[in-house]
Symmetry: C2
């Protein structure tokens, strides 16, 4: 078993020689054929074990014309909301004999290259784009060649590209109704950009309107970062008609809102209720304990996998929009307003 680094890994022919059969038979055994006499199968498996043989993925995919591999392009590893989603994605892919390769769009972007480039070169069988890409332009050409699913973002909308995402309209409504139900009337929304930001904002506004609170709704834009959430909240809190609750477009911005409140001497949730979106691991920290919307990322991942699997089966058709059902995760950052 002693093998040095310089010596090359055993090939299927080495296995065949050792087992005293042809390479074709080894191939049959390894791919689980029933048409092999048990003693030969044993001999082959023993040789495989003794040599520590592992099939060469490059050779196999070259010949099979498929890699059994799906590329996952993450928009930014620093936003860890996608970890649950990857688990959902991986569980289903794995059950179907597929592997997952990860890449960070931001890391490879510095070079001005198409971030999916390496995946294309590897001839992955499908691509999952997670989150909103910095430069979605290149995606169109990719989608012409292989199944592409966008997960956790609403853009870009491309022919033949499925989109799997939580129902932002519903999520924002859950939050708004929760706050209204607690007795809040003057409620602010820290809005974000892009289709997701717009949907959440619209749904917030609509829900406020439905409850006759159109005039109590305050909307301020931000850039979906902690810094942005902080600055926007500082602005909000300095208003004469200070809101008693803030609904931020995502958890990160909500964390910024928390610090702004703290800095203004307001206690959360006594003096100000704060809600986020995404149910990030940060929101779950005891020290933060943020009421937020769980965006069902595990389910999003599973459905994204389902979409790919269906397309592998040959299902064509235009891209569909799949909505997973978000739920409200009530924690410690919301409470009834102090009657003042």
């Amino acid at each position: 078993m002693e093998r040095s680094m310089s010596m090359r890994p055993p090939t299927i022919r080495d296995v065949a020689d050792r087992a005293g059969v042809s390479k074709s038979l080894v191939s049959l055994v390894l791919r689980g054929s029933e048409q092999v006499r048990p003693e030969k199968r044993e001999a082959v498996l023993r040789a495989v074990r003794e040599l520590g043989y592992r099939p060469n993925a490059a050779a196999r995919s070259l010949s099979e014309q498929r890699t059994r591999t799906v590329g996952v392009l993450l928009n930014d590893l620093r936003n860890p909301w996608f970890v649950d989603m990857l688990e959902g994605l991986n569980s289903l892919l794995h059950d179907n004999g597929l592997h997952m390769l990860l890449a960070d769009a931001r890391l490879n972007r510095r070079t001005g290259q198409d971030p999916a480039g390496p995946f294309l070169d590897l001839r992955v069988d499908g691509l999952v784009v997670v989150g909103t890409l910095p430069d979605p332009a290149a995606l169109g050409a990719v989608a012409e060649r292989l199944p592409v699913v966008v997960a956790g973002a609403r853009e870009p909308t491309l022919p033949g590209v499925d989109i799997v995402v939580n129902d932002d309209e519903r999520g924002a409504r859950l939050v708004t109704e929760h706050l209204i139900g607690l007795g809040h009337r003057r409620i602010a929304h820290i809005a974000g950009y892009g289709a997701v930001g717009e949907l959440r904002r619209r749904s917030f506004e609509a829900t406020m309107r439905e409850h006759g609170l159109a005039d109590e709704a305050v909307v301020e834009s931000s850039d979906m970062t902690e810094e942005g959430g902080y600055r926007t909240t500082v602005r909000l809190l300095s208003r004469a008609d200070r809101p008693t609750a803030v609904f931020a477009v995502n958890d990160i911005a909500a964390i910024g809102a928390l610090s702004a409140a703290e800095e203004s001497g307001l206690r959360v949730p006594r003096d100000l209720s704060v809600v986020g979106y995404d149910n990030t691991s940060i929101a779950r920290l005891r020290h933060v304990w943020l009421t937020t919307v769980d965006n069902a990322s595990h389910e999003v991942g599973r459905r994204a996998a389902r979409c790919l699997l269906d397309r592998f089966e040959g299902a064509g058709g235009a891209g569909e929009l799949h909505l997973a059902k978000p739920t409200l995760e009530i924690r410690g950052s919301t409470a009834p307003p102090v009657v003042g």
Copy 2:
């Protein structure tokens, strides 16, 4: 340019036909040979552009007997301290024409398979193991076949495997001296497990001893999670001789300590100073603003890349230990103790 999904990507022969040259010439052009007449080179490049040709990585690596790809095995995507490190790693690898593939050891572990298996099948040229693996046993066999570097962890120690990590002894000393310098005497350490945990604890104890504070040092073990940090701190704070400062083995545990303090009605940093380790993005949140040790992860990444590159050049030798220099990042969670 209209191409459908069913139609297979162009090969080097398609390019050759279109450019009216042989496939060998196309290969020469693509690999940047000087030995090609300018007009032919132009013709080839034009054909490449017009067909949208991308070389097939499988075919190339099969023939070249190398993949120009490095596998990065992350212990857990939920612990995002490694993002900076990946940037450092990637920058150097990229400059040398190498690609990076990511995998999460936890995701693929469920199957009881070797988490590095897919990388082995892909015949990556090298492997970077980030953090402490759940099951390091399998690594030994891998290291016999290709260069392996462990980054951000001290285990396992294997022949021929380099280890790149920040200097935990120095980091813990920086923290302890910082706290002592502020005037703290009774200082607690929330210890962790493994070689890293041990080094930090030992260094804390040694530094306390050097300052004649051996009797003031309190050490409690934890599991390096938020929950663990919380529970340990609750225990610490209920002691008669309550410490005025807590040094947690990592940021996550420190966050747990923060909530415990908060819950006990203690203000940080007025009543209790808290320090973490790793300078995670969480520590940088304004709402947390944790004094912590920056473990120089970018530098660790660069050095890990350097190790691999050296081994690719043929440098052999036993595995070395490379220490990057950590620095203290003083934020808002530490202050002089209130004289009581």
